[in-house]
Structures are given as C-alpha cells and as structure tokens.
Symmetry: D2
C-alpha cells in the first residue's frame, strides 16, 4: 500500500487568509499538499476548498491528525469541513428496481478497482430471481418489497439496514420508488439518484416517452442528491446523446441506459473521492 493520503473539503464565508491559514497549518503538521482546488462563489459569498495532502514528517493516521487542533482553524473561519483517509473507502448501499444496468455497471467498476468503495448491500423491491445473470459478487442481497400500505415499514427497514451496515452513501441505481420526505431528509447529502432525463426537462414518470413526444434532438440523464423535493435535488453530473426522428421510445430507453450508467458512475466517483461540496441547492464539483 502506498503511503497515507488525506482529503480535506471545507466551506465557509469567503474572507482573506483562508488559503494561507490552511496551508500553513498543514505545513506546520508535516503535511505536503498534493492537490488543491478552490472556488469563491461571488453570489453567495461562500468559499469552497478541496485539499489532498500526505504526511512528510507529520501524523500518518486520521486519529493522530484529528488531535492536531484543526478545530481551532475551523472555528476561526466558521468552517464546515470533512476529513477523509483516502485508504478508508466509503461504505455504499445500492438500491435497484427492475432495470439492472446501473447496478451491473457499478459492481463491475467496483470489482475492477475503478470505484474505491465497500458495497454494504444490494436492496431491491423485486426478488433476487429477476436479476438472472447478474453477478452479485458476494454483496448481501435484500429483498424489501414495498406497497403504498407498507411504505413506512419498508423505509424503516431500509434505515435500520443503513445503520446496521454503517453505510455512508445510498445509491438509487434506477430504484423506481419515491422516497418519503422523511427518509429523504434523513439521507440528505448522502443519497444519490440517477434520473433518466436531462433535468429540469421531463421531470416525473416515463421521461423517454415525454422526450419522444416532444421531439427533442438530444436525450440525457442527471445524477443528483436526493431531497424531499422530487427531481429538484442538487445536480452532480449530467450528460446527453444525440437522437433522431428514427428513434422510438424503445430506442431512447436503450440509448439512455448508456448515458445513465456513465453519468451515475461519474457522480459516484466524484462523491467517493470527496470532489463534491454542497452549495445550497447546487453543487461545487472539483473534477479531475
């Protein structure tokens, strides 16, 4: 294993001295900055920063680093911050309904080392048999069916499972059930959904049929954090592909699968690498 690396992400009110203070702090703790990106939002006056650093002479573990009185810096600038050890992957739960293309894609990317994460569970509102041919790779599978009557219980079971598995992030990999406002609120900032349209166009159900009916010349997909307000959460990533009058709704669904899986995979990777910081109803994404 290569040496330790840490990622610090922070946001606070913009003011002189933030970069100087943070970089001096790290230098004094024997840490070398490997990468840093920052953004000052002139509209809101918020400042956002992502720093990747590695110990030269200083602490090489998260626990030691946390003793380094970073909280005094954070307090001085009233910062919101997160500090992660790059070698401690996040724990991710995958939710899926009938269509399994995003699920299969994420499992494949995880298996080949492209997505640094620990899958804690696959949760489906369909039984395992329908995912015939999907290689679950020893990830525990949970069948949690849901009906209007059982929704409260099912969501409670989901929350229990999230707790029990120490899940950090929930991915709705074409999970076609709308989360209750309560569940959405509890998962704020740690639940990513893939919507099969280029939002804000074609919100709601059957977006490819909507797109076909409207006669658009490009279709797209949108990965966003889930909020209580359906299809209105902060957007992480989007992409599109060209279509033509020849494409039936079935063709759009087929072409859409490719867009959905690559948009979700990118958003997931950005999140896992701490590249995404919430900026009210929007995101700051420090891409590579």
């Amino acid at each position: 294993m290569p040496g330790s690396q840490f990622v610090l992400t922070l946001s606070c009110s913009d003011q002189p001295g933030i970069v100087a203070t943070v970089s001096a702090f790290l230098l004094a703790r024997g840490q070398n900055i490997l990468d840093a990106q920052q953004f000052g939002d002139v509209e809101t006056g918020r400042f956002f920063m992502r720093v990747v650093f590695a110990p030269t002479s200083g602490p090489a573990s998260l626990a030691e680093l946390r003793k380094s009185s970073g909280h005094t810096v954070a307090a001085r600038f009233t910062m919101t911050y997160r500090l992660h050890d790059r070698h401690l992957p996040q724990r991710v739960m995958l939710l899926v309904s009938r269509f399994d293309h995003c699920l299969v894609d994420i499992i494949y990317r995880w298996r080949t080392g492209e997505l640094a994460m620990i899958p804690t569970a696959i949760v489906a509102n369909h039984p395992a048999e329908i995912y015939n041919g999907v290689e679950f790779a020893d990830i525990p599978f949970h069948f949690l069916p849901v009906s209007p009557a059982s929704k409260i219980e099912q969501e409670q079971a989901l929350l229990d499972l999230i707790d029990r598995t120490n899940t950090n992030l929930v991915v709705l990999a074409r999970y076609m059930r709308i989360l209750s406002e309560n569940l959405a609120a509890q998962l704020a900032g740690r639940c990513i959904n893939i919507h099969h349209s280029f939002l804000p166009g074609f919100k709601g159900a059957r977006p490819y049929h909507q797109a076909h009916a409207r006669g658009v010349k490009l279709i797209g997909a949108t990965a966003h954090y889930v909020t209580g307000n359906l299809d209105e959460g902060p957007i992480i990533e989007q992409d599109v592909e060209r279509i033509s009058h020849r494409d039936s709704p079935a063709d759009l669904i087929r072409k859409g699968r490719d867009i959905e899986r690559r948009v979700l995979a990118r958003a997931l990777r950005y999140h896992l690498e701490d590249r995404v910081i919430l900026n009210d109803r929007k995101t700051v994404v420090f891409t590579d």
Copy 2:
C-alpha cells in the same frame, strides 16, 4: 454552373408502393436519383421522403417538370409535397434585437457560400447605429421599433415587407419580441427561432439565469419553428456544452452565444436544403 438538380420532399399515409411509384415516375421522366432518404413513423402511420435527382434525358427546369403530371402520383397517395430547384435559393429575412452574434454569423456563412439563400432584409427593433461594426453586406436594413401599443402596426409592417420582398423564410436571430398568435399562424412552417436553452428546460425569459440558479452541468440552445404556443414549436436542432460551478450567468451567456449560433446555422441550412419535414408537433430531419 453545374447541371440542374431538384429536391422533392413529401409526406403521406404509409402504404405499399410509394417508393416504387415515385422512383418509376422519376425514371420515366429521365431523372436520376442522387440521394434518397425516407422514414415511416410507426406511431402515426405517416411516411416521409426526400429525393434529390437530376435530369439525364428529361426536363431540366422546374416549369417543365411541373407539367410532368406528378400531381396524379400525389393525388393517388394523398401526398403533401414540395419540389425545389437547388439552384434557386430561398429568400430569407433576418430579424434581430440587441444581440447580433447570430445575425453576424448567418451573414458570414451566407457571404462564404455556406448558406445558399438570398437575404431579403434585416429587420431590427433597434436602430442601425447599435450594430456598430456589423457588416450588413448591402442587405437592406429596416428599423421597425415595437411597443405594446404599436405591436399590431409593427407586425403588419413586417408582413407587408415579407410580401413585398417575396420572403420564403423568416429567421428570428435572437429577436426578443414574442410574435402574436396571428403572425405566428401566418408564418407557420416558415419561421425559425433560436431559443437560448435546451428546451423544454428553461422556457421563457432569462434562461441562462434560470440554468445558473438550478445548477445544471450543461447548457444548450434550441432551434424550432415558431408556433402560437411560445417555446413549444417543432424542434429542428439542439446542442449543448459543458459548464461548471465556476461559470457565472455572464459566462453562460458567453458560452451560449457559441451554441446558439451553431444550432441556428445548422437548422437554417437543413431548412434551406429541404431536409426538414413537419410531422405534426415534431420534425423529421434528413441530415447529411
């Protein structure tokens, strides 16, 4: 000048024998098919075709060709059709408001031979002085200011000008006044607008500010035929470009100019080359 070439576009109910009949008809009149594209819409049962042909032994002018009893074929299949001589460019009127990037681009493409058309007039709701530095290239400029009170008169003046100049096509090249339903109806199928968003997202005013507020990761533009239903006309062409959290509304406007001008130019070229056929609220575009 190279030899004559004609373009036939048609639509009718789909039924056996259309291609055979049309191609036999052309062969019998001494015409050689150079290019043909067709599309059967299984949803609506409509059939669409575009044929480019040139005389070998047959008529070499539109007038002669029209005597060839093509109407009997058209009647047999209840076809809607158009027949154009490729060497007789369409007559195009350009409407513009304050932002002149689309206007300048279209004039440049026309001047270099990329757009086969005859500009009949530039019509602006601002005086010529504000287009300082724009090379109008001897195209007549008309200042037709408009206010809520004068809208009916201004639109009548516009219609008179369209008639007087034998204009075939009106291009709203970032013309920021909404046409009345009456005018839109009169120009049905011969008026193209460029909307500065990826419709159906961000209809209405200030779409780049809307896009910025929503935090989308791509912005776009849409060229469509104008109908009485604002921003709902049949879409001809769309395109997008990637943006990031760093982009202010002013950046989006700047990046958007590039998208708008290339989307409008493509849509205009498709129309001028008879590549677009209306299919109810949508279009069939036979691209090259």
Copy 3:
C-alpha cells in the same frame, strides 16, 4: 414473434434506375419497404443501399424469397448483395485477452436483448480463472494460449472453431494478439477490432501512454474491420472524451474503457443490423 422482416444491402456501379428496379421488384413480390437508405459515392461512382422490408402478400421466409429471381436484378446491375432475415441472428465469437470490460459489456447487452446475436464461443489467450467475477452465461469458453512458436497452430485451432460453430462474425474485444495476415485475410469483412486510440493517431502499442506523452486534450477509441494491415482497416465507429493535464496514463486507461466499450458496442450493433457496407478502404454506415 412479430411478422417476418428482411434486410437487403447492396452495392454496385451508380446508374439510373436502381431504386426504381429494386422497389418495383419488392412490390411485385408482395413486400412492403419499411426503411431505405442509400448513398452514391461521387468519387468512386459506387452506389450503396440498405432496404428493410416485410411481406404483405408475398413470401415470408428467406428460402422462398431467394426463389424470387432476385439474382436477375443483381446480375443486371452487377450488384454485390446480402439478404438477411431479421429474426435469424448472426453467430458471434468473442476473443479476449486480459482486459475484460468489452467482453463483459457485450455479454450484458446480449443478455438484455440489446444485441441480437448468438454468442458461439468466448476465446481467450488466458485461462478462465483470471476472469473471476465475469458471468459467462453458458457461452462456451475456450482457452487458446499463443506464443510466437505456436501462433500458426493456435490460429488454425481458431479457424477450426469458427467453422465448427458456424460463426459469422469474430469480435476482438480487446484481444491483444495481432492476427497473421493469412488469418486476417480469411476473416475479411467479418472480424471487428476495437483499437484504444482515435486512429490514425497513436497506432500500435500502448496508445494511452503515447497520448499522455503527446499531451492531447481528447482521447478516443476506434472500431474497425481487421485487415492484414494493422490499425489500417475500414473504420466503423469512433468516439472521444475530454481529458486534462491532471490525467495520468492510468486515468486515460480508465476513461478509455468507457469509450472502448461503447464504440465497440455501437459498431457491433451496426454490423449485426446490416448497417455497414464496405466501400473499399472505408465504410458506409447507415445509422439509425
């Protein structure tokens, strides 16, 4: 199963009457044209056509159709043509080396019905164990190792397997061994390779390292028919993605996997749907 559908692809010297003759021929045999695309190459004087049709009152099987004296039409125009029943999928052999992303992707697309084909075999120059976690879905797996000394025998074994399995198409899904000229010649027009660069840039080995060293701002992939002339075969499909100075060769390889698999999948689908016709060293691709 829906009713019969056939695809006819043909090429010949361009001359008047081809479309009329072909469409009259089909009409007379009780066939209705559903889709047709054509292209006349003015440089070479060659004409290319793809026609999809379905029986109304005529023959509903390939065998019957072949009795319909289509050869007299073909002879008259000295046509090269192929006629396929859309319900009889082609038989496809998949060759792979160490990297399995294209293989996994093709199997998934086949399993979900996106690629209409019958996989006849997976052939690898590595043993099955290294594809740990790949769901082979009952496709026979053959381990055919190859060394410079054993190349002739290995290729003969490959050819035998192709014959024995009635394979129509061989796909080099990141198969990293160069075919001999002899084998390439025998598979002319029925062997597709995915090269991991935007050809003709970065031919040969380690193209992502070459791209990194040159500092290009986009990387790509190319699907092409295999010929004896390495990386020079007729191109079917290409695509690219944006990269930056931050991307290491390992990042390019990761991003490249996404491009490779979607370019190969598109090329494969085009081939399976008879959308590709060879035009000397190039291809005509009638996309949907």
Copy 4:
C-alpha cells in the same frame, strides 16, 4: 472600472511549503486570493500554480507589487513566474492567409468584449482586397507577401512589426505559411497556431482530404504553440465533430471551419487569461 486584479502563474520543482509560502506572502502584502488552481506533475516532479488575487489593504498596481520582494520567494523555490494586471490586456497580432473564418471570428469576439486583448495588426500574405466584406474595425492591415526567395526578408519584416507594435502574442489564424525554425524559436511560447486536424492524426498538408481518404468518423482541430518542429508544438485545446460517409472533402472543410474557430478562440482566451503554463512539450491548462 472594477478594482485591480492580478494573475500570478508559476512553476517550480514540487516541494513542501509552496502554497503556504505564496499565500502567506500575498496575505502579508494585503492581497486576497480570489481563485487558485494548482497541479503537481508526478512524472516530472514539477509544480504549477495560477493565483488570481485583489488588493484589500495592499498595493493596487503592478509597479508597487513588483517592489514587494516577491523575487525572494521566487528565488527560494527557483520559480519561473509571470505576474499580470488583469486590466492591462495583452497585445495580439493576427496572421492570416486566404481563409478568413478564424480572423473574422476573433475580431467579432474582441469587438463584443469576449476576448480581452488589443489587436496590434492584421498581417496577411494576400492583399486586403481579397478579404472583401471583412470588417477590420480599424486594426492596421499589413500585406506581407512571401515567396521561397523572400522568406527571410518577410520574416524579418514580421519581427520588426512585432517589435514596433509591442506585440505580446502572435496568432496564426489559418496562416498557411510555415514559419522558419529561427522565427519559431524567437516566438517560443507566444505564438499560437490552429491546425485543421485532430493532431497527431493528419499532420501536414490537406488534412481534411487525408481524413476523407482514411474514412474517419470524427474530424477535429488543434490549437498549439508553434515550435520549430511543425505540428508538434504543445497542444492547448482540441475538439472534434461527427461526420459520415456522406461528407465530401468540401463538407469536411465546411464543418471544420466551425471546429477551428471555436478551438482557436478557446485557446486564445485561455492564453489571454494566463490559464496556460508550458510543461516541457505539453501544457497545463487551468480551465474555468
């Protein structure tokens, strides 16, 4: 005019403390960091940084700032650096041959404020008359014809003009003459060329004809710094567009014009905003 803003770009050997030292230095001089991007090249061990800052209590002019002993910081890290006042635009000379689409586009973008620069001269190897319809907007035009025999004199005249006009950057806006090695060396890092292909594919003459002959499915353009090694200079920006078998070389040239002008405009803007730093044979581009 808004308050002063400065841009500092630097490169040096990567080592601990650079960010801390630079940011502390700026803070101590009463400067607030508005934007900062950095990159450590693990292969070469070089570190690159771009900082945008504005005075709060410190110096508000370049002259004052230069007295702030920044050279001691630079010396300590053996930095190469540049410091620009954002309100002092660079002086740019535009070279052009017969095709004027890039020239027209740059002039338009300059006129609308999109490109912050001062055009010092338009230099052409054709007389002004052939640019009929181009609005030179009072930029001095120089006709400097060139033949093999007169090349040395012509290049000397060019250099004299560059000196006399205090030109900082030379843009080869489809200037079709190859600069001598001597001139290329003298303009190292301050001369941008647009090549009409996706390098390294199709170097040299008539790249669109080469692309057509090879049958590629995408064409592109490349903006790069000029070096003595033709078409091998560090790449700043590239882009591509999809083409098909239907596109003749003339179509590629037409589509290529759009790619060329937007790639060159982007590269030019990146350079003018000090977003590009040379990294040996490659570039680091801190995009917005």
